[in-house]
Amino acid sequence: MDILEKVTNSDYKYGFYTNIESDKAPVGLNEDIIRFISAKKEEPEWMLEWRLDAFRNWLKMTEPEWAHVKYTKPNYQDICYYSAPKPKKTIDSLDEVDPELLKTFEKLGISIDEQKRLSGVAVDIVVDSVSVKTTFREKLAEMGIIFCSISDAVREYPELVKKYLGTVVPKSDNFFAALNSAVFTDGSFCYIPKGVRCPMELSTYFRINESGTGQFERTLVIADEGSYVSYLEGCTAPMRDENQLHAAVVELVALDNAEIKYSTVQNWYPGDKEGKGGVFNFVTKRGICERNAKISWTQVETGSAVTWKYPSCILKGDNSIGEFYSVAVTNNYQQADTGTKMIHLGRNTKSTIISKGICAGKSEGSYRGLVKIGPRAQNARNFSQCDSLLMGDACGSHTFPYIEIKNKTAKVEHEATTSKIGEDQLFYCNQRGIPTEEAIALIVNGYCKDVLNQLPMEFAVEAQKLLEVSLEGSVG
């Protein structure tokens, strides 16, 4: 019997619900709601105006359609746009954090203390839109590094926010970016001053908690000239029946000679075996590189019912470098349409794209990538490798590489492969004493190695575990 046919699936391990009394906006979306959010956040007038402008743009836009993604469009008037866990008081140490919340993190396997102690990770935790705790903030402050919630940044560093917010992803960039610009409630802000090498990985855990709340994170990372930062973003959401919307915007600014490494592990609830529920993940992520700057996006995407996401690099400065390393796993009825855009504008700009798709069950995975070489981009180079690994016969994978070259000196290479986990590979592993589940994990991890190697150590281990969990039972 073909063992690849015996498709079952394990239950989502992170399905639990934390009971924190929340402070919610009324359901629906209009200018008053935006004023409510802005007031809640104690924002300055210019920020409110910016939001309202985005909202008015959004009203004129239509939701995009994608060929290989099918989902029921959310009713944007049915969503609550602001929900904050009520803090009992201002929090200075972890002891004061809501014990319910800490339990949640424990279940997720994230021990903040452990992380602080073992790896020196500064964690900015976002639960349903409000940053609960920023650790290591003071230590970083000594070096002039700012790492805080975007709301704090709007209040405390308005010049920086005003200067860069919306410069990489304009507020009317696309339907979801416009919506995010209008209603974003939290997210992280990070500024690394000139010549400073951030001594630790900056990390944020996002998590959607309240039923029926959409989450609109806004992240802005600015690496000033000659600086370096590695930023980690991890996401998990508890089990929910109705679909939840997540429309985040991430903007990265790498000034001359700066480097930003941005890593994501996304494990939101993918829906159940029948395709019920799950998070809609529509994210706009983009970075801009000035001269000699470098941006690397690394992502491990295992969750969400629908993912639509193309972390991109605008290689504006000469000699700038863009990299995209991605593992996208889909199982059961999940759909992922992900990839990258590398826009080469400057001379001698280089980009590398390594995309590894894994499809199991009845899922659909697409890679969609654009490599654009502008007329001024002398000697631009791109290398793309897009591989798909199929498990079983009911899933589908698609590759859509778009290439636009306006400069004759450019060199663009594209390689693509599709393979299946072979019965021969499984039998070989079994014969050596490795059971099928473990064999799949081993083979999949091997397949993703080039991407996982890009992740910081502690994240790589977590990512490997996630891959195993999300593919558990996909071959029996």
Binding site: D424, Q425, Y428, Q431, R432, G433, L442, N445, G446
Partner: protein
């Protein structure tokens, strides 16, 4: 150690094994020879528990236990090892990582603690020295881009690390150069003891000069048509299979 009685197996409705009887006792080395397509690899795959084959008749006992219902990994945990005629490539999985997983899963299967990393590395180094393997192998993806001979040597390396009770070597000699044949055979001989046994599948007497068998069997069309001592291999080397095939059809 291994008792096979009247074993019949088929794949996609084709009968491949048609009544095999074979008994292997601890300390013995059995050689199985026979023309291409006679069912040698099929027999080893069926013993190892490959699910693609349907066993239509007969029984297999290993270490005193009926193993017909056991999964390949359970058989492996009991101490069964198969050196593949065509070892499989697993991209991105290093030899070290693969072996570590194999050893620890086997130990887990037997209710033992994982092997401490230090001990494992030490053992790997020792075995590699015996097999004259270069250190660089450890970090390469398993079998990916390995030459034919390197793949075979790597199979024996894994065997030596896993210390099986019964090892089936399916044409381990093919692809090995003259020196490699000697080195690999030497590695196998070092493992021979009163407690374990080997089934060596080969087309050539050459290997049996190094790994001297106690018994030689000739497989033809899914049946053992002749068994004898080590001199049978020499006879086959000079006479070929035709005289046996004729004898068998009579």
């Amino acid at each position: 150690m291994l008792k096979i009685k009247n074993l019949h197996a088929s794949i996609d409705g084709n009968d491949i094994l048609r009544g095999i009887n074979l008994e292997v006792k601890p300390g013995e080395v059995h050689a199985i020879m026979g023309p291409n397509g006679s069912g040698k690899s099929t027999l080893s795959a069926v013993i190892a528990g490959r699910e693609d084959y349907e066993i239509t008749e007969g029984s297999i006992e290993f270490a005193g236990e009926d193993i017909m219902e056991l999964s390949p990994e359970e058989r492996s945990h009991m101490g069964l090892f198969l050196s593949f005629q065509y070892p499989v490539e697993i991209p991105g999985v290093s030899v070290t990582n693969f072996l570590k997983t194999a050893i620890n899963e086997s130990r887990k299967g037997r209710g033992q603690e994982p092997m401490p990393a230090k001990d494992m590395l030490k053992k790997m180094r020792e075995v590699m020295a015996v097999l004259e393997m270069d250190k660089s192998f450890m970090s390469r993806s398993i079998n990916e881009g390995f030459s034919g001979g390197e793949k075979k040597r790597n199979e024996i390396f894994q065997m030596a690390m896993l210390e099986p009770k019964l090892a089936i070597l399916d044409e381990t000699d093919s692809g090995l150069d003259i020196d490699a044949l000697r080195i690999v055979s030497n590695g196998v001989n070092k493992l021979r003891s009163e407690k374990n046994a080997f089934i060596v599948i080969t087309h050539y007497q050459r290997l049996l000069d190094y790994i001297v068998p106690d018994f030689v069997h000739v497989l033809h069309k899914g049946k053992i048509i002749k068994s004898g001592g080590k001199e049978l291999a020499l006879e086959l080397e000079s006479k070929g299979y035709d005289w046996l095939k004729q004898e068998a059809t009579v």
